[in-house]
Amino acid sequence: MASRGRASPDHPDSRGRASPDHPGNGRGTGSSTARAAVLGRIRAATRTEAAQPMTVPRDYATRSPLAGPAVTDRFAERVAEYRASVHRIAPGEVAERVVVLARERSARRIVVAPGVPEDWRPDGIELVADRSLASSVLDGIDGVLSGCALAIAETGTIVLDGTARSGRRALTLVPDWHACVVSADQVVGSVPEAIAGLREAATAGRPLTFVSGPSATSDIELRRVEGVHGPRRLDVLLVEG
Amino acid sequence: MRVALFVTCLVDTLFPRAGIATVKVLERAGCEVEFPADQTCCGQMHRNTGASVEAARLARRLPDVFAGYDVIVTPSASCAATVRETTDLGVFELSEFLVRELGVEDVGASFPHRVTYHPTCHSLRALRVGDAPLRLLRAVRGLELVELPEARECCGFGGTFAIKNADVSLAMLDDKLRCVRETGAAVCTAADCSCLMHIGGGLRRAGDYVRTLHLAEILAS
């Protein structure tokens, strides 16, 4: 069952529907036997069940009761509780704020997500374009500037969706400082609204990352320590107006 | 109102005073109490220990034993829960019956002592009697009610658990007794004689002055 390295786009294993006769994964007879066995066991175990889906009672709230500026306020409040820093600014102030923060964070070089608009990009600090930079190179860069797909007020969460504006995943993971621009109209009230808003991205198979504060652990005597492997500093630039 | 008393095998055999007190309290509240003598046991112990055949046999007897009674009252929260789960009979634990069915909180009792109340797991989670026992206790003349710290923690009885896992059961009992002592109460009460047997047994072994009394015994004073 040895792998043959990265499957090329034309390799029958990596694309294309799994037909009923195809083992479904090109691994050979071993796994297709296992597949048949497991499915067989499941069918034997549940033979008394109806094949139709059960109705799931969804009486929970699918929308936040908050609206308008209250949503943005809640988001700012909740993010601050995670000890990420929130900066509420006007449109056009992004670039200058990034410079100020970079100075505070002693960041000289930052990588920029490719879809970040021109007017977010500050002068006075070295900007590195992401040309499939190796992770070890990213490790030597002080910070990253990106946008996001949306944000959730209730939980103080930012969602990155792997598009140009969010950047590929490694970008917002390896550098120690993440400055993320969230526009007020990107903030939704609740988790259900966020999941609905991300359906398209999910269906298109884009990788999604939910970020709620800087990374943390409570593994040593349950004392919460911030900053393990993700960026230890997270600055949220909340653009309103 | 005519009610049947389901006294339960434990109370019948080892804690008759709780049963007698239950009768007294119900009569004071204006009920006509009858005791169908064919009653024996609800089968809880058997049900919980996987002796399902014996448990079913005992549960099957109940509708005949209590035939003709719309209302059955019992001094045991755990037995009330069991009967509700295994039959369609209208059974109530004493405190929920008094407070929620009869709307009575003052049963004319007088008990001038400091008392703490332990909410047993069945009364708390299976029956959800809520604060019914506390309302009844607060209406007792002269009674000083002290809140039990960490009240919702299980006392460690758990039926045969107390024997099969005696060490853990006793560790849990230790913590419960510590909390009881912290209240400075003279009496610890509850809606289940089973838990009180365990708590009381621990207090007596320690030579403690704190007594255990079933809720009904206080209400009948």
């Binding site: 209730e154 492997h229 | 039926g159």
Partner: protein, 437 residues
């Protein structure tokens, strides 16, 4: 079960009570918590009812997105698949995110036997691994260790002299040590909190960022997922992303949740393998009552309220899954009769677990059900059951006239720490007959 040593019990009590309070606070904020639990339970029940269809859908969606799906009947098979994949890439090490499923199949040991090192990257798992120990709590596996013990382990195993026992310094040491591993690793291994059949999305919910590291940086990713983790629809995440973080770490949302589908061009691993694991789950599924244990989302809320777990600790359950969920899952996974038959008895049936379970698993009901499957009910009790089934026999037994009755049941264990109640002068019914006729 044996009561744990005082240090363990102190650590556990502090830990569990702390998380409990946080959990209660964030749950109290959620007005529709009950409705979410009801939905969560229904989604899981629905999923178990059509598990085969959903797994095929998931496989299809993952495959179309460029991933490869493997099926494993048991631990041996899963470890073989994974070992072959790693060896096939000429990799001698993998970086791993904490995954109970991989602990369950003892993947690390299997890889070790093939000369492959599995580097644990969760801080607690790193501690457990470096001290050659075993996790004692689903969520906080090193809860049984205090900071100076951890400092000693790091100093010794990572060669770090002069390290203090300050948690921040310890964490920083771990960060620097592991970053090198993340950057050089060619293969990452993870578990999965769920796999969405509708879209092929696989997800990992975490706090430290090592999950992101392992699922993003290495060019090859292998994810091991228990078959019961499949969820029918994308929409279902809106329920579980609320239930899980609040129940497990007592947060509104955990720091990082990573969701990916197959492979993405120029973003993350170019090769993704999903290993679907049975390893006894279909056995659990075959018990119409017991199968509710498969609804578990591994939040550990039940552990944090269990009076038995608090006093005996995780190791006492002899399994990766301790506490209330362990008591109902492990015996079924291992098979009954089996070496976990004692577990359903390790409970006072207090019900605190059922109150906090985010998917409403009726753990006490399942414990009782499993007690009848594993056996072990007392013969003296059965004798009592016979006696109680008739009025006259009952009354005779009350008066001690049935041999072996009154003292039949383990009186030795009772009187170990408690007095027996003094025998009353008359039974209730004797009083009733005497006074009421």
């Amino acid at each position: 079960m044996k009561v744990g040593d005082p240090q363990l019990r102190r650590n556990l009590r502090a830990a569990t009570r702390g998380i409990r309070q946080k959990r209660n606070a964030v749950v109290a904020e959620v007005e529709d918590w009950e409705e979410l639990r009801v939905a969560g339970e229904a989604i899981k029940r629905d999923a178990m009812g059509r598990l085969d269809v959903l797994l095929e859908q998931l496989e299809d969606a993952v495959t179309r997105a460029g991933g490869k799906v493997h099926w494993a009947r048991d631990a041996v098979e899963a470890n073989a698949v994974i070992g072959d994949l790693v060896a096939g890439h000429d990799a001698r090490e993998v970086v791993k995110v904490k995954s109970l499923t991989t602990d369950e199949i003892e993947l690390n040991q299997a890889l070790e036997r093939r000369g492959i090192t599995a580097i644990e990257t969760d801080l607690a798992e790193l501690i457990v691994q470096l001290s050659d120990d075993w996790p004692s709590h689903i969520l906080v596996p090193a809860i049984h260790r205090n900071r100076s013990e951890i400092r000693d382990v790091f100093a010794r195993e990572l060669g770090l002299e002069g390290l203090s026992d300050d948690p921040e310094e310890l964490t920083d040491a771990a960060r620097r040590h592991l970053r090198q591993a993340f950057l050089r690793a060619r293969v990452g291994v993870s578990g999965a909190n769920f796999g969405i059949a509708e879209t092929g999305t696989v997800g990992v919910v975490e706090s430290e960022g090592n999950g992101r590291m392992c699922t993003t940086l290495p060019p090859v990713l292998i994810t091991v997922m228990g078959i019961e983790k499949v969820l029918p629809a994308w929409r279902d995440l809106e329920v579980f992303l609320q239930l899980l973080p609040r129940s497990s770490t007592g947060e509104r949302m955990n720091p990082y949740t990573s969701l990916w589908t197959g492979v993405s061009e120029d973003d993350g691993p170019g090769e993704f393998h999903l290993v679907l694991l049975d390893n006894g789950r279909t056995r659990v599924l075959a018990d119409e009552v017991g199968r509710d244990a498969l609804h578990c989302i591994r939040c550990s809320a039940c552990l944090n309220v269990c009076p038995v777990y608090e006093r005996v600790g995780g190791h006492a359950y002899g399994s990766i899954y301790p506490g209330p969920i362990g008591a109902i899952l492990t015996p079924q996974l291992r098979g009954i009769p089996g070496d976990a038959d004692e577990l359903p008895w390790a409970s006072s049936l207090c019900g605190a677990c059922a109150d906090v379970c985010p998917v409403k698993i009726d753990i006490p009901r399942l414990l009782v059900h499993l007690r009848s499957r594993v056996g072990g009910s007392d013969p003296a009790l059965r004798l009592m059951g016979w006696a109680m089934a008739g009025r006259r026999r009952f009354e005779a037994a009350q008066l001690g006239r049935v041999p072996g009755m009154r003292t039949g049941i383990g009186m030795g264990a009772w009187t170990k720490g408690r007095d027996l109640p003094p025998p009353p002068r008359e039974t209730f019914r004797q009083w009733w007959r005497r006074t009421r006729g």
